[in-house]
């Protein structure tokens, strides 16, 4: 007989993927069972039908679990100065009760991550991002009168997006939400506690993000879900969200750029100007990490890449396609692409090697490899550089928001 193995003191390895606070609700809804690991947590690529989930974002309302996003809390009198050292934009200009999209770099000016910075109070911030950055944040905070804590597990997050998202909030009893302007945030009462609602999102549509203590996650879900049913609120997975974000022209760390701390090949890192974030770089504010390198690269003209939006002839999505100049010279690669159902256009986000995309912007082609029943159809299609976002929806920014 084989003796039972002794139980190790820790069982963490038995749960390679953790569950988010919303897991019981998502598991009950999941029809496709298309689970994947997002930052070590069980997440869904799709809940029931990717196409229909996309249309929930654009036509009714969609609920997406963003709990796996890394969430850092920076508090204390020195937090504004510390975050100004960390990030590219001027945090002094971020008023309490507002959110801004920002990014941060290493000393060489290579982007470590992008994310949203929430100013919850004058000396209280939350930073949300894809990657894990606690050591970097702690080292940046050294010498500043502030504390940095990782609250990823303690705080659950939901994105409520789509034309009916405000109507769902209103129906769920979040009175006063109508006055929230884009990038504004406020606390609302919930079950004796509170939920922070910001008018933000990753879809380019009217939408909100809600942050709540993990133990109040399920009651928040239920509150939105029951209020949202008459409005056709749907739970969605990442694939639908990804389509919407491409239409909105947003970039994703790890997909459209390789974070500097993860790049294995030293030439695969990107400066802000190389991924379309040049507008964030505030050289007039106080110093920040990477400032010197970015200013030098601009002065010396050593920027190597550029991120562009492409409009491609034909209707086959150009995912992973190689971009050519004059159909011959390799000019870059497509990092995200879809056939946009709303725009009825074939759009893509591409990373080009300068001068393609900067000086040479005409005569670009993409070579799409479409696998059609064990044979690749090689399509060489003309592509045009177009501004991002591809899709601009007036309802996204109208205040008060529509009910639709």
């Amino acid at each position: 007989m084989i003796a039972a193995r002794p139980q190790p003191a820790q069982g963490h390895f038995r749960t390679p993927l953790m569950e988010t606070p919303f897991h019981p609700r998502l598991a009950a809804l999941a029809e496709t069972n298309d689970w994947y690991g997002w930052a070590g947590m069980k997440s869904l690529h799709s809940v029931y039908d990717e196409e229909l989930e996309y249309f929930a974002i654009r036509s009714t309302a969609a609920l997406f679990d963003i709990s796996p996003m890394a969430k850092y809390r920076v508090r204390g009198p020195g937090s504004e100065a510390m975050l100004n050292r960390l990030t590219l934009r001027d945090v002094r200009k971020l008023a309490p009760g507002r959110v801004h999209y920002t990014a941060w770099c290493d000393d060489e000016g290579h982007v470590l991550d992008d994310g949203t910075l929430f100013r919850l109070a004058p000396d209280d911030f939350r930073l949300c991002c894809q990657g894990r950055h606690l050591p970097w944040l702690l080292d940046t905070a050294e010498g500043f009168d502030c504390t940095v804590t990782d609250e990823t597990d303690e705080v659950a997050g939901l994105a409520l997006q789509g034309p009916c998202s405000f109507a769902v909030l209103a129906a769920a009893g979040f009175t006063g939400a109508e006055t929230l302007k884009p990038f504004q945030l406020r606390d609302f009462p919930h079950e004796g506690g509170r939920v922070t609602i910001s008018r933000t999102g990753f879809t380019g549509d009217l939408g909100y993000e809600l942050f709540v203590a993990a133990d109040a996650a399920l009651t928040l879900w239920d509150r939105l879900w029951s209020a949202g049913q008459p409005l056709r609120l749907k739970a969605i997975g990442y694939n639908a969200l990804n389509r919407a974000r491409i239409e909105a022209g947003f970039i994703v760390a790890g997909a459209d750029f390789t974070p500097a701390d993860q790049a294995i090949r030293t030439d695969r890192v990107r400066m802000p100007d190389e991924i379309g974030l040049d507008w964030m770089v505030d050289l007039t504010k106080s110093a920040f990490t990477g400032r010197r390198a970015i200013a030098a690269a601009r002065a010396k003209g050593t920027l190597k890449h550029i991120l562009v939006g492409l409009d491609i002839a034909d209707n086959t999505p150009a995912e992973g396609a190689i971009v050519y100049h004059r159909g011959k010279r390799e000019a870059g690669v497509v990092s995200a692409a879809i056939w946009s159902p709303t725009l009825k256009r074939n759009i893509a986000i591409a990373s080009l090697d300068r001068p393609y995309g900067s000086r040479l912007t005409d005569d670009l082609w993409v070579e799409i490899y479409a696998l059609r029943e064990l044979r690749y159809a090689k399509l060489m299609k003309p592509a045009r550089i177009v501004p991002r976002p591809f899709l601009t929806l007036p309802r996204r920014s109208a205040t008060p928001p529509g009910r639709f």
Binding site: A81, M82, N84, R85, L86, D106, D107, E108, W136, D139, T140, E142, G143, F144, L283, T284, S286, A287, T289, G290, R291, R292, A295
Partner: protein
């Protein structure tokens, strides 16, 4: 607000050198020194009427180009090279001339073996020494001048022939213990090489790379003699005074007793310093000739520098391993039963490689050895004005780790007791003749000299912290990530010891880039 062309922070010999060279080039220079001018070079009273060298006590690498560039007055060093006496078991060995050009106390065969090892190391040091007198080559920012210097160094290697070039590459990162074993049989000589290679470092003779410390020592010279050493007349304070008067002659405005509290910077450029008293002085050039870690972790606002730079300085290894002892004695100690003339240089108590290695072992674990290796200098010898009756003794004790587990408050008296016992064994009656004793562990050196870690070189001299990585990569080559701020202390290339080269190289770089 007061302003000038260049501010120098720190009045050690490197700060004084940089200030003098800048002033001679026509810049209006102000130098701020927290304590007394001279840094580790000072002459102190151990007891009324007994004067010794406060910290450093020997001159063996003061660079001729520094003397020329500053116009340094050298009378206190006008002497032939002083001998080194090695005290091990049995009779002493005496090295005369430049690092034992002549040997006494070993057999003819061993003397020949030493001569061939000495020639080998001196030849290699002459090549490596070419890299010390100018800015280190910076990868990614490699200029014509760098190519020229590197080319010359390469030629110098090749001129010695393929076999020598190969040998240099074989030996350069090896340890002193193996090299000593390769050539020598005499334990006292091996002990001396082990001691000299590791003095001031957190390395034992068997640690990889320890030979480099010996190479570095042999790149130095005194009185024009390679490997030579001189005990300055009047103690190190006289040499400090010479540096000070060179600076005064050049027109440097010297402000001793003035601590710099902050380096002000705006958007990536250093603009001014704020003094401890609150006064602000601005200048387009600020040369920091104090410990580089202090410069970036204490004086500069972290908001003004990149996170990676803070990280690099937090990892910078700079914890001292040497304690200093000054004694006032009522007699001249008869070390090894030798004549006074033979004791006019230094006396090294290092019996063997094993002795030095065992002295190092406890240092790895935050303790000192009950049997440390010791270098002794008698600064007052032949100078009644330094000690009218008797003698002063200056000793360096290796190893005395900065982070002593038991704490130096209790550790210092125990170490003093240990050291006095050892000295008494080699110079019977010494202990009974002690009038006053002052033992400075690294923590005390740190406190008295504003030298974090109390480190000899302002940072370990291992390959990870040399050349274009000295003190850290982003701040190597004297320029720093803050425009207008330059580094010039021993923490920068080429490193520590009384050479003046970091100060000179830094000043020359400033003159080149900040016209």
């Amino acid at each position: 607000m007061t302003s000038c062309d260049a501010i120098v922070i720190g009045g050690g010999h490197n700060g004084l050198t940089a200030a003098t060279v800048l002033a001679k080039a026509g810049r209006r220079v102000m130098l701020f020194e927290a304590g007394a001018l001279g840094g580790t070079m000072a002459t102190v009273e151990v007891a009324p009427g007994y004067r010794s060298s406060a910290l450093s006590h020997l001159v063996n690498r003061l660079a001729p180009e520094v003397v020329a560039a500053t116009g340094l007055e050298m009378t206190c060093l006008a002497a032939p090279p002083a001998p080194t006496v090695v005290l091990g078991d049995g009779d002493p060995v005496i090295l005369r001339g430049g690092y034992g050009a002549r040997l006494e106390g070993v057999g003819a065969e061993e003397a020949l073996a030493f001569a061939s090892l000495r020639a080998k190391l001196m030849g290699q040091a002459a090549i490596l020494g070419r890299m010390l007198g100018h800015r280190p080559p910076m990868p990614g920012d490699f200029g014509l001048g760098d190519a020229w210097h590197l080319g010359l160094t390469g030629l110098a290697v090749l001129r010695k022939g393929r076999a020598e070039a190969r040998d240099l590459m074989r030996m350069i990162l090896t340890n002193v213990a193996d090299v000593a074993d390769e050539y020598l049989t005499d334990d006292r000589l091996k002990g001396l090489l082990s001691f000299d290679a590791t003095l001031g470092a957190h390395l034992g003779p068997r640690s990889p790379g320890s030979l480099l410390g010996l190479h570095y020592r042999l790149t130095g010279s005194a009185g024009g003699v390679a490997g030579g050493q001189i005990v300055p007349r009047g103690g190190m304070g006289t040499l400090a005074a010479a540096f000070v008067s060179a600076a005064e002659r050049a027109g440097v405005e010297l402000r001793p007793g003035t601590r710099v509290a902050r380096i002000e910077a705006v958007q990536g450029r250093a603009t001014a310093v704020t003094l401890a008293g609150g006064e602000v002085v601005s200048a387009p050039v600020i040369v920091s000739a104090i410990h580089p870690g202090t410069t970036f972790l204490r004086l500069v606002d972290p908001a003004e520098i990149d996170t990676g730079l803070t990280r690099a300085f937090r990892r910078h290894r700079s914890k001292g391993n040497v304690a200093k002892l000054n004694l006032a004695l009522n007699h001249i100690p008869a070390f090894g039963g030798l004549a006074e003339a033979d004791l006019a240089g230094r006396i090294v108590i290092a019996r063997s490689t094993d002795h030095v290695e065992s002295a190092f072992n406890p240092a790895k674990y935050g303790a000192f050895s009950p049997d440390p290796a010791i270098e002794v200098v008698l600064p007052s010898l032949g100078q009644p004005e330094m000690a009218a009756k008797g003698c002063t003794l200056s000793a360096l004790i290796q190893f005395a780790p900065y982070d002593l587990k038991e704490g130096w408050a209790g550790g210092a008296p125990r170490l003093l007791d240990t050291v006095l016992d050892i000295l008494d064994r080699h110079a019977p009656g010494l202990r009974a003749g002690v009038i006053a004793a002052d033992l400075l562990p690294p923590t005390e050196i740190e406190a008295r000299c504003g030298l974090p870690g109390g480190h000899w070189h302002h940072g370990e001299m291992t390959p990870d912290q040399l050349l274009f990585n000295r003190p850290v990569h982003a701040a190597a080559g004297y320029a720093t990530p803050l425009d207008g701020l330059f580094l010039a202390s021993a923490g920068s290339h080429p490193g520590g010891g009384i050479s003046g080269l970091p100060g000179l190289n830094a000043a020359r770089h400033v003159l080149e880039v900040a016209r």
